[in-house]
Amino acid sequence: MELPFAITLDVGSSLANHTGSWRTERPVYVNRLAPCNQACPAGEDIQGWLYDAEDGGYRAAWERIMADNPFPAIMGRICYRPCQTACNRGTLDEAVGINSVERFLGDEAIRSGWTVPVDAEPTGRRVLVVGAGPAGLSTAYHLTRLGHQVTVRDAGDKPGGMMRYGIPKYRLPREVLDAEVGRILDLGVRLELGQRVDDVLAARDEGGFDAVFLAVGAQIGHRAYIPAGDSARILDAVSLLRDVADGEPPQLGRRVVVYGGGNTAMDAARSAKRLGATDAVVVYRRTQDRMPAHPSELAEALAEGVVVRWLSTISQADSGTVLVEKMRLDETGFPQPTGEFEELQADTVVLALGQDVDSSLLAAAPGVAVDAGRVTVGTDLMTGAPGIFAGGDMVPADRTVTTAVGHGRLAARHIDAWLRGVRYQPAPVLPLATFEALHTHYYADAPRTVRPRLDDARRTTGFEEIVGGLDEETALFEARRCLSCGNCFECDNCYGMCPDNAVIKLGPGNRYAFDYDYCKGCGICVAECPCGAIVMEPEET
């Protein structure tokens, strides 16, 4: 090239100057565990499916839920949503309404008839699942998708366990339950109803099964001794709810006293109201902050006119009345009697004092331990008997549908490994995306959307569903409130804010890479990443 007057060198580019050699620390992209994901008992990738939903990818979002949990529409109604308690957005304004988005996706799937495939080759292995509650059905679902042949056996007439015979339909309509259970059965799960299993080893051997998963729940209402006159009418809550579910509700009278403080007590009292009781009084021996019922259940019950007598026990039941003793909490928080009594009107007393496990079907199985009424299992959910696994309410854990579903997912992976003669290795747990790891300055304020609710007057007259769903616009809004904690959402901050153009944009869905030839290691990308998905690491020398 001919150079102009007085110029002796060609113009060179600064690209020749590899400023990356200045670096003492290097930025690295990471994924962290979102707190919602950490909190989810069903093991869902919540942050992941909210990300899918954010740009309208509802089907992809739903499939991502289905990878872990076959009941999105059920979850979106009755999960106690520990994810929302953990959600980092709660520290900013209000937690993301994860549960309502899940419900929207679940309902959308039912409306559109979405299904999931079984991609695995048939393994030829056969697994018996005892109990068609959420734990059993979840296990059957995952095992089927892994290629195994599954038979589910249940003593009842219909599948669902406590989802059908405990949780009332004003919280979980049966059409939703039937749709999501039906979808599992359509994958090829064999369901045998009205068949109680009394001896698990016999059932296994007679059927020629390679492994068994037990999920018989905690079905027996816990009995407490209450001195009672002959004509006192005492029911247990589990049977009451079961009869209601069967469409054969008992006569309760106008004044109903429910004894206990859990979710079952709330549902019993709320059902009593719907069956015509004018007074539904819950008698609970401790204070509100110690109540095991979920705060939202209590709030709903109170809104419907249920009354709670805190710090009270029932000491005697007679025809039409109960005698209630006032309690006080001692220093350890345990209720102690005060000797003060009061009489309450009660046509029926409903006991909701917890449920017990009937583990008699394991009596003949060697090596099975039962502790405090629950069957002991290892971290792999296997009982002491090889090849006999158990989960859900019958093992020591939280008694929720979500936990049961999570047990099903985990058990399926362990059973699958066990059938192949290996041990299932869960993926390593990522470091938590704490609120401090985020740079929330980049997120707009956005209070959360409230789901439509039936007004209180209409609620107690029937078993109609109370909480409505979100329409698409509000569900989308809600999904977009997610901060994407700990996981890159391709916001371009690192790409845009690097003073050295040392970030390479790899295109939609592929995130970014650092150009270490030029990255000087200033750390701006780390400081300005909204979701905490970049860290600095010392440069190797």
Partner: protein, 340 residues
């Protein structure tokens, strides 16, 4: 609102890009095909706000002018770190002249283009605060007064950084530089001196004057785009933290700029024909100490023998700015008469 508001709440509404927005609503910096006017390999310090601000501004100017742009540069860090002969980081037509004459050279380039009938090609003059506020000031004022068709951009890092951090007319009170040491009863730079060139530019009643920072990319890009909608003299004053001269962590460049805005110390506004037309509101006023403390140039105000009295005087400056420009979200925008 100068910047198009993002109409729905979504993850990271204020980030550089956003996969949920249409591509034409995203920032220039989010564009994989942006000009990268100032390319990799430049020798600016780690975390240099000036390098970042210049790429932001010139990439936006390139898009606004359909890539028909010539830049003229004053001596200063921006020139020295980008173009050590024979290498350059500039990927646009770029001219260097002297420390003090960039506005005049820009005028000349604009005049030449006019003579050639190339009104499609636009001119940007640029320099540091020393080159703009001090030594280039006469040329700049002349360029304004003649209303020459140039957008002049000052990258304000509040001292002469290229020659080793000497005080300029833009160095803030109490800040230490090599020439304003932390000694005597009034340690650091004096109060009551220096000049506010955006306001002086407004006094020239030129078509467009604006301030911006590297902490608000979308606002900065908007202001460059808006400036290019006018013909005549335009002035953009960009606040660019300097990790070396200020003694801040290299990763804190954006955060420090954000704090300068949120304390009220650096008012972000735009003015047309001498009148303020918009200000960037502060969501929540931050005490100046939060801005000062992370900077070594203010170290003498804190620590073993702190100077709360000096911090209080700086707070007064911030409070005055907030009043004067109506920076708090709750306050009404200033009317034309009240405006500074």
């Amino acid at each position: 609102m100068p910047v198009q508001p993002i109409k729905f709440y979504q993850s990271g509404s204020f980030v550089v890009g956003n996969r949920l927005l249409d591509p034409d609503q995203r920032s220039v910096q989010a564009d994989p095909n942006r000009t990268n006017s100032l390319n990799s390999g430049h020798r600016a310090c780690q975390g240099c706000g000036e390098a970042l601000g210049a790429r932001y501004a010139l990439d936006a100017a390139m898009r606004a002018t359909n890539n028909q742009l010539i830049a003229v540069n004053a001596t200063g860090c921006l020139e020295v770190f980008s173009t050590p002969y024979p290498e350059t980081s500039w990927q646009i037509p770029w001219l260097h002249s002297l420390f003090g004459n960039a506005p005049a050279v820009s005028t000349g380039v604009a005049a030449a283009l006019k003579a050639k009938g190339r009104t499609d090609v636009r001119v940007v003059g640029q320099g540091g605060d020393g080159g703009t506020v001090d030594i280039g000031f006469a040329c700049l004022s002349g360029m304004f007064e003649r209303n020459d068709d140039v957008l002049y951009i000052c990258y304000d890092n509040e001292a002469y950084m290229n020659t080793g951090v000497q005080r300029s007319g833009s160095t803030p009170p109490a800040a230490t530089t090599m020439t304003t040491q932390a000694v005597g009863p009034e340690p650091g730079n004096r109060f009551g001196q220096g000049k506010n060139v955006p306001l002086i530019a407004m006094a020239h009643e030129i078509p467009y004057v604006a301030t911006a920072t590297v902490a608000d990319l979308r606002d900065l890009e908007y202001k460059v785009r808006r400036a290019m909608e006018f013909r005549g003299a335009r002035y953009l004053h960009v606040f660019v933290p300097c990790p070396l001269g200020w003694g801040t962590a290299s990763c804190d460049t954006i955060r420090i700029a954000r704090l300068a805005v949120h304390t009220g110390l650096f008012p972000v506004f735009e003015a047309e024909h001498g009148e303020v037309v918009d200000v960037t509101r502060i969501p929540r006023q931050v005490p100046v100490a939060e801005y000062l403390r992370p900077q070594r140039r203010y170290r003498h105000l804190f620590g073993a023998s702190p100077r709360p009295d000096v911090v209080a005087r700086i707070q007064q400056i911030a409070d005055r700015n907030i009043r004067r420009f109506g920076l708090l979200a709750a306050e009404p925008a200033p009317t034309a008469q009240e405006a500074p």
